[in-house]
Symmetry: C2
């Protein structure tokens, strides 16, 4: 165990139909005028947006609507959202959607209280304040509903960068697992990969000796696998969808890394470079990167990989554990090779060059040079 | 999974020497005058109180000191604390000690803002406000450092009752695991029992189908057993003491019950009756009650007891799992029979009578009648 501070003040309201409480929650916080951010038309077609707006009206809350958030949210769209938030003098941002909508909403919340360009905060400027963020989640995956992270892509510079600040933890996040029943199985698979990726980074790259955190991670991974298998067999399996949703939240709410000391996010670093260039789903990129990274990294931490194999799959060798995880990704139809998402091996150098910049930004440039990253990606050809 | 609201806003600052940050944290909250509550002389002798006061002085915070909290905090002492807090017009309560000091401090925080007797809140009056509570923890066990519970004993009526309110979550809790190195091994054992008791109540009495919560509970129990064994062999085992401390916090911070629906606290209910009458350590009472309760309850939920046996001890029968837990209590020298704490079997009727009142208060009076409770206690003779 290492020193840590844990402070996660987000209030979670979990259950069917709970989006009807949003007006009440905003009222309780003294908020009367908001920017409602969403993505594609699915939330309109499903009737969710109407239900949300009805709840706002019932609580006398005025709102400006801002749709069109991309699945990898773009800086250009974020900037327009910031302008809108300023123009309409909103007091809070309400995100209705998946992780990308939540991430862009957090960025808008920061930009709305700043005189400088919002991208500044992604390249080093400290976040000192933000409008309060409220969320209604429609896709379980990123954990953004209960953390202080936001990832946005600058299409001009091909940079997928993030901010991390206590000021952008959502005040209230409403999780209605029924909203996820219609999530297509391929996106459910990507979400499962994403949740696993969130917890294995710390698990494999930290120092040993953190008993509880290892157990928490193993519990999360086992639950993700168990519930995803149930969902694949029955996409409307209510218990599995609900457990999956809450598990994805806990996979990146600060709980599993609390006390584990220094660790790194190499898989996310490489994947961010991939999806900055190719606009593939984040989870699909991760299921390609993870097995490759594990095959390369296993020699650096063999005992933890051995433990992983035993605890998760009941297997007795590190290599067998990695193979079992890769095979599970295949079973749920998430890609494990670059060719499956039509990325040619000849592009590896360009990806590695992009990733190298991130590696330096994330403080792991010494281990993850362009050459190392290219070598890892070669294992995914 | 069932609907739930999870909102735990306590900030945890974990690490060696972190008590030195208390002045700063109070300052950041705009607090200038506090009541410092503690228990016996150990915090004076160890120098902890001096270090805390030095931190307060450095931040220009004035404080009134109030020591003498009992290990089962008493209403009479709590009432005097309320008077003191009112007299000195303090803006916050700072608890320095174990769970009992924290619990009494929360009660004082409630009473200080009320015109009526503080006991009213333990027998049904709703808590609507409280002074902010800050804590520096010296004993890992009760989880009071990160929850909204407070247990106080009314010696006149022999009632050990509790309040549970969002208003008494500590604002900041400082956890320095080094402060627990000197905790005697018997009290360490009682704390281990207590942490296990906190998570098994929900685990065994809820409905099935909550994948993640089962895994979290199993991870907590396995970590408690693993780290307690290390501490028994080496009381200054820094990693084990630290892991144990954080595990005890998570065992009762609202995480494991979130989403499990209705469940009950029968072991705590019976133990509260025991320690209300005999003033034995809470954990010692629990290690007597739990195996007895399990032997009685196993027939009502055999599959979960079977799972418990397999996941925790690698055993294949429910009965063997209960026996293994009881044997582990024996190994760490926590009592498992009433005779070990000198409670004669002839007292069982009186204990059951006391527990019956609690059972009704906690809404489980239908299942836990005086006769049922006496029957369970007979299994601990």
């Amino acid at each position: 165990m290492f020193d840590f501070t844990f402070h996660n003040p987000t209030k979670i309201i979990f259950g069917a139909g709970k989006e009807a409480m949003i007006g009440e929650e905003l009222n309780a916080a003294g908020i009367t005028n908001i920017l409602l951010v969403y993505g594609r038309n699915s939330v309109v077609k499903s009737g969710l947006l109407d239900r949300v707006i009805a709840s706002l009206k019932a609580s006398d809350i005025t709102c400006s609507q801002y749709g069109g958030v991309d699945s990898n949210p773009l800086l250009s769209h974020t900037r327009k959202g910031v302008d809108l938030a300023k123009r309409d003098k909103v007091e809070a941002i309400l995100a209705v959607g998946g992780g990308s909508v939540l991430d862009e909403s957090k960025a808008i919340a920061v930009g709305a209280l700043s005189d400088t360009d919002v991208w500044d905060f992604f390249v080093g400027k400290e976040v000192t304040r933000a409008l309060p963020v409220f969320t209604i989640l429609t896709l379980a995956a990123t954990g953004s509903e209960m953390n202080g992270n936001s990832v946005v892509t600058n299409a001009e510079t091909r940079q997928k960068y993030n901010i991390s600040s206590p000021h952008v933890y959502p005040k209230v996040s409403i999780l209605n697992p029924e909203l996820t029943h219609s999530v297509p199985l391929n996106y459910t698979a990507y979400s499962a990969v994403d949740a696993i990726a969130h917890v294995i980074e710390g698990y494999f790259t930290k120092e040993p000796g953190t008993h509880l955190q290892d157990r928490l991670v193993e519990g999360i991974i086992k639950t993700v696998i168990e519930t995803t298998d149930l969902i694949m067999a029955d996409p409307s399996h209510a218990q599995a969808r609900a457990s999956f949703m809450w598990t994805a939240t806990l996979a990146l709410n600060g709980l599993t890394p609390a006390g584990i000391g220094e660790f790194s996010f190499p898989n996310h670093m490489i994947e961010h470079a991939l999806s900055a260039i190719y606009n593939i789903p984040h989870g699909a990129g991760l299921s390609i990167v993870m097995p490759a990274w594990m095959k390369w990294y296993v020699a650096r931490n063999p005992s933890q990989f051995q433990r992983f194999a035993g605890e998760i799959f009941g297997l007795d060798s590190a290599v067998a554990g990695i193979a079992a995880l890769e095979q599970w990704f295949v079973t749920i139809k998430s890609p494990v090779r670059l060719g499956e998402v039509k990325i040619p091996a000849t592009d590896i150098e360009a990806i590695a060059e992009n990733a190298e910049g991130l590696a330096r930004q994330w403080g792991i440039g010494e281990l993850y040079t362009r050459k190392t990253i290219a070598g890892i990606l070669q294992l995914a050809v």
